[in-house]
Symmetry: C2
Subunit: 179 residues, 2 copies
Amino acid sequence: MNLTEIPLTQEAIYKGRIITLRVDKARLPNGSEATREVVEHPGGVCVAALTDDDCLLFVRQFRYPYGEVLLELPAGKLDRGEDPLEAGKRELAEETGASATDYESLGKLYPSPGYCGEIIHLYMARNLSFGAMHPDEDEFLEVEKIPLEEAVRMVVDNQIPDAKTQAAVLKVWAKLSQA
Amino acid sequence: MNLTEIPLTQEAIYKGRIITLRVDKARLPNGSEATREVVEHPGGVCVAALTDDDCLLFVRQFRYPYGEVLLELPAGKLDRGEDPLEAGKRELAEETGASATDYESLGKLYPSPGYCGEIIHLYMARNLSFGAMHPDEDEFLEVEKIPLEEAVRMVVDNQIPDAKTQAAVLKVWAKLSQA
């Protein structure tokens, strides 16, 4: 079965600081036309940093679209042309003060593929050392250390709604359980 | 530490078929002002439907923002005012033809909380029966049955980038492992 949609036209709607919105017309597999709303994003990175005593580093941060303080793994968006792993090292250092000598990919995450083109790169970081945190000027956050087993329980018990955090915590747990 | 940001002004940018874009000014904890880009979405639902022989029902679907066919759990957006569980039953039936007598919440997912307000409600469905699928007019998809253990391996091996699918598959596995 052919599932492919062919782009026909693009209309730029908005170009912002973080996201860009465009609205396309596309040809569907049955030959008809449909509108496709597409949010473009430069891409993101998320780091599950595991301490020597099997704790993960979290940040608490106000998330404006929900009006809530969320518990998330350290994360951020890629600078233009930035390598995802380098971005992960930068965000981990900025948000928590930690750096790691051992990084392992946990794959990619497509947060909401119906209308959004963002790719979030996930990493596990181990063998940590600690310096001073230095968040962005408009970034206010608190760092928290949570045992991995407790973090898994919190994800399963629905206390951590953030998608990248759910995926990365459970992937770290799955990888270490299999190892 | 006060992390809260206070909304000051809202500017409507775009109102589309699926998403709405607005740009706000907000007061930060340090008193300065910042711009906040917010994608609004009516909310979504995703169902991990487990067969009696421990397989999950998946759909393959072209996702326009990535230009790729993705393997995902059955999912869709809420109709206006629709109860999330009812939406889950509707989407499962539309996309796979399956209905279930046993539903359990797997919690909420915030796909990209920096700029997006979408909430995806996750469910596990069991005790399935099968009828005819009847997807939306502009929806083209293929149904596939994959053993749970294989699906977990595919998520951990980064063959399934979709966020809601990663989270729901690993949560089903975590719940059934603990049970």
